[in-house]
């Protein structure tokens, strides 16, 4: 296995903005659209993804020499499923309301392509430290993306942030922002904003 590749620090930094899973790689769209109706749900989701991604990356990295090419996706999925089940049962035991709100989206982390992508791209090729740093960086990037979308949706849709009132009482709640169309519109506009920001920055560095 090739030992060269990005260093752990590069892996960590890359995950946050330059290779942000949502805004740059457009991976994991299903939870991005489905659970960003309010900040609490979005942050719980991000926590679950952090846990699953970190553990799956470490395990995959440890067994990377045993992997057979034609079986690797199956092994990734089984590893991920193990940790997703742990996260799912944990939430059901200690955060029952949240577990009910997130519904099927916690089990669906199993097929979240952010995690399979990181196992394939990083953990199955690099050491444990790089894989761990990569998992944390990607998770932070994912959490930031979810937080940005959930902030817009919760503030416009309910006038609150983390269930705290931030808008004046007279604020008319935009029900559409809580509903699925609001997720698509917000994601599209923020994605456009992120691209525009990236373009203007690369134009500046080029000049």
């Amino acid at each position: 296995m090739a030992k060269d590749g990005p260093t752990p620090l590069e892996r960590f930094i890359n995950g946050i903005l330059p290779e942000n899973p949502v805004y740059r790689q457009l991976l994991g769209m299903c939870p991005t659209l489905a659970v960003t109706g309010n900040m609490k749900a979005a942050m719980t989701m991000s926590g679950a993804v952090l846990f699953v991604l970190f553990c799956a990356n470490i395990i995959t990295s440890l067994i990377r020499h045993l992997l057979k090419p034609h079986l690797r996706i199956l092994v990734f999925t089984l590893t991920i499923a193990t940790f997703v089940t742990i996260a799912d049962r944990f939430l059901a035991a200690y955060m029952y309301e949240m577990s009910k709100e997130l519904g099927p989206y916690i089990p669906l982390i199993i097929v979240n392509c952010v995690i399979i992508c990181r196992c394939e791209v990083c953990a199955s090729k690099q050491g444990v430290i790089a894989a761990g740093a990569d998992a944390i960086g990607q998770s932070i990037g994912f959490a930031l993306a979810l937080a940005s979308i959930a902030s817009v949706r919760e503030i416009l849709g309910e006038g609150s942030w983390f269930a705290m009132r931030v808008m004046p009482e007279a604020w008319p709640a935009w029900a559409i922002m809580i509903l699925p169309p609001g997720a698509f519109i917000t994601l599209g506009l923020l994605l456009g904003g992120a691209n525009w920001f990236g373009m203007s920055r690369s134009a500046k560095t080029a000049a």
Binding site: W174, A175, P181, I185
Partner: protein, 336 residues
């Protein structure tokens, strides 16, 4: 691609200039975007007069907010895209007027403003501006506020809360709601002249027909679309009527009630979001009429013109592909 060579007059012999340009070569100067939009505005005049007569100050207020916000939104968003600002073609004004005519007179100011920004921003300029949008911008704006501010746009939103100094029309439920919830039937005369509650522009069948006729004569609107809508509604509602001869809400009520005529003549005929060919326009119109009847009869909404137009807008590219006309001289050779 045809290429045409235009030689300058032979009198200027010293400098022969050869112009080579792709078609079209004839500019009539009449059917420009600007003239079409002005035509729509002229066609909307009777509707405007009736809505001012029925709703008075309420109509003027919503109209002013919508047109103002649409023009401002157009200015802001074109500036963001660093495009030349094309307010001169009046398309933003038309969007604002049609959006205002599709809102209730009691709509709060923020509904009108947000609807206008959604119409211009999400409905039009996100797709690349006039001529590129898939969906009718005014209907996108209305759909946005309808889902965002359900209480302001649902049946209750149409009725003014205070009673003093309010036009008579605003104190009663809209004919479509009254029918759905209480089984009350409005008289055909009221529906025809427009002395009922409803969205600002939809109440009077007479005004819509008058303005629509002008658009059809000017050929700004394609005649197949409104005819298709009316035909589909007429056939389906007529069938329902025949099955239940005692029904008080007749074909006439279906044709003149709600936003049907306004939608068929002014909204569905938007040249950008309707099919290009005659056959396609028939399919488009019939489809809208059928969906309107489906929503009116079976859904929880009293009226369905907005959703019908948006749904059929979505299939316009498909319709255009189905109905490619056969050029003179034989069929197009199939692409291998």
């Amino acid at each position: 691609m045809t290429q045409e060579t235009v030689n300058n007059d032979a009198t200027e012999t010293e400098a022969p200039v050869t112009h080579v340009a792709p078609g079209p070569h004839l500019g009539g100067g009449c059917l420009t975007a600007r003239w079409m939009m002005l035509d729509v505005l002229i066609g909307l005049l009777p509707v405007l007069l009736v809505s001012l007569w029925v709703f008075g100050w309420y109509a003027a207020r919503v109209l002013a907010i919508c047109v103002g916000s649409c023009v401002v939104a157009e200015g802001i968003f074109t500036a963001m895209r660093r495009r030349q600002c094309r307010l001169g073609d009046f398309s933003a004004v038309v969007t604002g007027v049609i959006l205002a005519f599709s809102l209730p007179g009691t709509a709060p100011w923020y509904v009108a403003v947000i609807g206008s920004f959604a119409a211009i921003g999400i409905g039009k300029l996100a797709f690349g501006g006039l001529g590129q949008n898939i969906f009718n911008p005014a209907m996108v704006g209305r759909a946005f506020v309808m889902i965002a501010f359900t209480s302001a746009m649902a049946a209750g939103g149409y009725v003014a809360s205070e009673k003093a100094g309010v036009p008579d029309a605003l104190t009663q439920a809209t004919p479509m709601t009254a029918l759905q919830q209480e089984g009350k039937v409005a008289s055909l005369g009221d529906l025809f002249w427009g002395d009922t509650n409803g969205s600002l522009g939809e109440t009077s069948a007479f005004a819509c027909l008058l303005g629509g006729l002008y658009l059809l004569i000017r050929r700004t609107a394609a005649w197949q679309i409104p005819l298709g809508v009316l035909l589909a509604v007429g056939i389906i509602a007529g069938g329902q009527n025949l099955m239940d001869l005692q029904a008080k809400w007749t074909v006439g009520h279906h044709l003149m009630g709600g936003a049907l005529l306004f939608g068929a003549l002014f909204i569905a005929t938007d040249p950008v979001t309707s099919p290009l060919t005659g056959r396609g326009r028939w399919i488009f119109g019939l489809g809208i009429g059928a969906i309107v009847m489906l929503l009116r009869s079976l859904s929880a909404y009293p009226e369905g013109v907005m959703f019908a137009v948006l749904l059929m807008n979505a299939v316009v590219p498909l319709i255009n592909r189905w109905t490619v006309p056969r050029p003179v001289g034989g069929p197009v050779p199939s692409k291998a």
